[in-house]
């Protein structure tokens, strides 16, 4: 069976600087794929290209065998693709419930009353039901992060991209987030997990892809990757710099 998502020779040029260069890899259905790499490696750019926020300079992305590059983001979303953001992006002047409701209605295409039930369920899952009627701009950063995840989930995704979900969280918060991600895996959502911090990704992912300076330098099982020389160079090199 073909891969769920197939990234094929994607390059992106920002005014002369190559953010991505010929990146290709596949993501199988049900997998958690970790995408790691130092700062400025082009991870977020890749996610934005997958979501069609950005147009790749060359190359394309296939989803379930269909080329999706060039669609508008809302159509991409309807196919079952969704993402969270590194800096949480929520609808700041709406309540948490409304935030999720939009996705349920427009992303998942549910009727109003079904959507309301679904929204309750999702908020429950990220344990935000207490804050249901709070204006989301008034939440703490961590709560906004959870809400961002909830909004991403509200569209009933089959393929979810998490952009550095753990960055800047306390240990307790990390535990909570990881438990949610585990739940998602149980729901058979395919996940592309982008992270700068390694330990959790290595523990939970089925495969790891390493980007450095816009190029894919490694792909493989987590433990093989971590022990690879090139990988260490990429990370250590960064620390020295």
């Amino acid at each position: 069976m073909a891969a769920l998502v197939s990234i094929q020779k994607v390059s992106k040029n920002f005014g002369g600087v190559w953010a991505l260069r010929d990146v290709s890899f596949d993501i199988e259905e049900g997998e958690i794929v970790g995408l790691v790499g130092p700062n400025g490696a082009g991870k977020t750019t890749l996610v934005k290209i997958c979501m069609n926020y950005l147009k790749p300079s060359s190359g394309f992305i296939k989803y379930r065998g269909l080329k999706i590059t060039g669609l508008s983001p809302h159509k991409t979303c309807k196919l079952g693709i969704s993402m969270t953001n590194q800096i949480p992006k929520v609808f700041k002047r709406m309540t948490c419930f409304e935030n999720v409701l939009v996705g349920c209605i427009y992303g998942a295409g549910l009727k109003r009353n079904e959507a309301e039930k679904e929204a309750e369920r999702i908020l429950n899952m990220v344990s935000l039901s207490q804050k249901k009627h709070t204006i989301s701009g008034e939440l703490t950063i961590f709560e906004q992060k959870l809400l961002d995840l909830a909004v991403a989930l509200s569209t009933n995704p089959k393929f979810l991209m998490l952009d550095e979900p753990l960055a800047g969280s306390t240990e307790k918060e990390i535990v909570q987030l990881v438990s949610i991600i585990k739940k998602l895996r149980d729901q058979e959502i395919t996940i592309l997990w982008i992270e700068h911090v390694l330990s959790e990704v290595v523990t939970y992912s089925d495969k790891i892809v390493v980007l450095n300076e816009g190029r894919k330098i490694l792909e493989g099982k987590p433990h093989e990757v971590v022990n690879d020389k090139r990988f260490i160079e990429a990370y250590v090199g960064e620390e020295i710099a």
Partner: protein, 318 residues
């Protein structure tokens, strides 16, 4: 809206709406003359403010050229009515023409964000003013005059404009509560994110813009029915500005806000009439003061009043 929800249940809400409608219907019979005139202008201001509010508060479209749709609605209504069509239908058709126009310009203008949209609409509106000044068929600077309108009276205009004000408020209410309104607010808060969760943002904004243009077009029609003439000054920046001031002073993002704001603006205009040389100066100062000392708009007073009412109620019940 929020301010109302704890003030009253649905039943009292319905009752108060019914009561208001009754009063509005009765007023021209009881109070002839000036109060009718005052309330007529109030209704027009409310309707236009509602139109602007829908655009700004619920879709984040800051239009500083909203008079454009008033103008197009007005000119179309006159042109159609002069062709022998009854005024009511002309107003409706005029409103549809301005809706159509809004839809046509949307794909181009929706690409502009924030202040750029504001500047774009402002300049578009003033170019329309120039254009109509030099358009011979549109009567150039003299504008068009409603030639055939035998059933004209202050009262008929009064009912017309209240009808439009009610219509605009109801339409806003329905829109805001619908899934379209939900999506529009999401687009307002974050265009990219809303796209990412499946909201067709261009479509949503276009539809909201079109609905708003429809209301503004109706206002244009009613304005013509009242003034009997439309001229290029209908596109003036001041007209758009008054809607902005009314909404923001009343309380943007609520349905009751534009009503209060429209009332305030009309009241200010009429109260200060007696000081013609400095009325605008005082108006300006008043607007700044209201803004500084009542940042939430007039709606915040209602909210406070409703809190007080809640306290009283609890005290009564205990």
């Amino acid at each position: 809206m929020k301010g109302w929800s704890n003030l009253s249940s649905n039943r009292t809400k319905l009752l108060s709406i019914l009561l208001t409608s009754c009063i509005i219907v009765v007023i021209p019979w009881v109070l002839r003359g000036y109060p009718t005139l005052f309330l007529l202008q109030l209704a027009m201001n409310i309707a236009f403010a509602q139109s602007w509010n829908l655009c700004f508060s619920y879709a984040g479209l800051l239009s500083l050229g909203h008079a454009l749709f008033v103008g197009i609605g007005g000119y179309s209504a006159v042109a159609i009515c002069n062709g022998g069509i009854p005024i009511h239908i002309s107003i409706l058709v005029g409103a549809f023409i301005s809706t159509f126009f809004a839809v046509v310009i949307s794909p181009l203008f929706m690409r502009l964000r924030g202040v750029y949209f504001a500047i774009g609409t402002m300049i578009l509106c003033s170019s329309f003013q120039y254009w109509f000044m030099h358009w011979t068929e549109a009567g150039r600077a003299l504008g068009l005059r409603l030639r055939f309108y035998p059933e004209y009276s202050l009262e008929s205009c009064y009912y017309f404009s209240w009808l439009v004000a009610f219509f605009a408020t109801t339409l806003s209410w329905i829109t805001v509560r619908s899934r379209l309104g939900l999506a529009a607010r999401a687009v307002r808060d974050d265009v990219d994110r809303s796209e990412g969760i499946g909201v067709p943002s261009l479509l949503v904004r276009t539809v909201i813009f079109a609905i708003s243009a429809f209301m503004a077009g109706m206002v244009g029609g009613v304005r013509v029915a009242y003034l009997l003439v439309v001229d290029p000054s209908v596109f003036s920046f001041e007209l758009s500005l008054w809607a902005t001031l009314a909404v923001v002073l009343g309380g943007a993002g609520t349905l009751i806000g534009p009503i209060l704001g429209g009332a305030l603006i009309t009241l200010l205009q009429h109260v200060l009439m007696g000081l013609p040389e400095i009325s605008m100066l005082i108006t300006g100062i008043m607007l700044i003061l209201i803004r500084l000392f009542l940042p939430g708009g007039l709606v915040s007073i209602i909210k406070k009043a409703s809190l007080l009412l809640g306290v009283c109620r609890r005290w009564l019940l205990s």
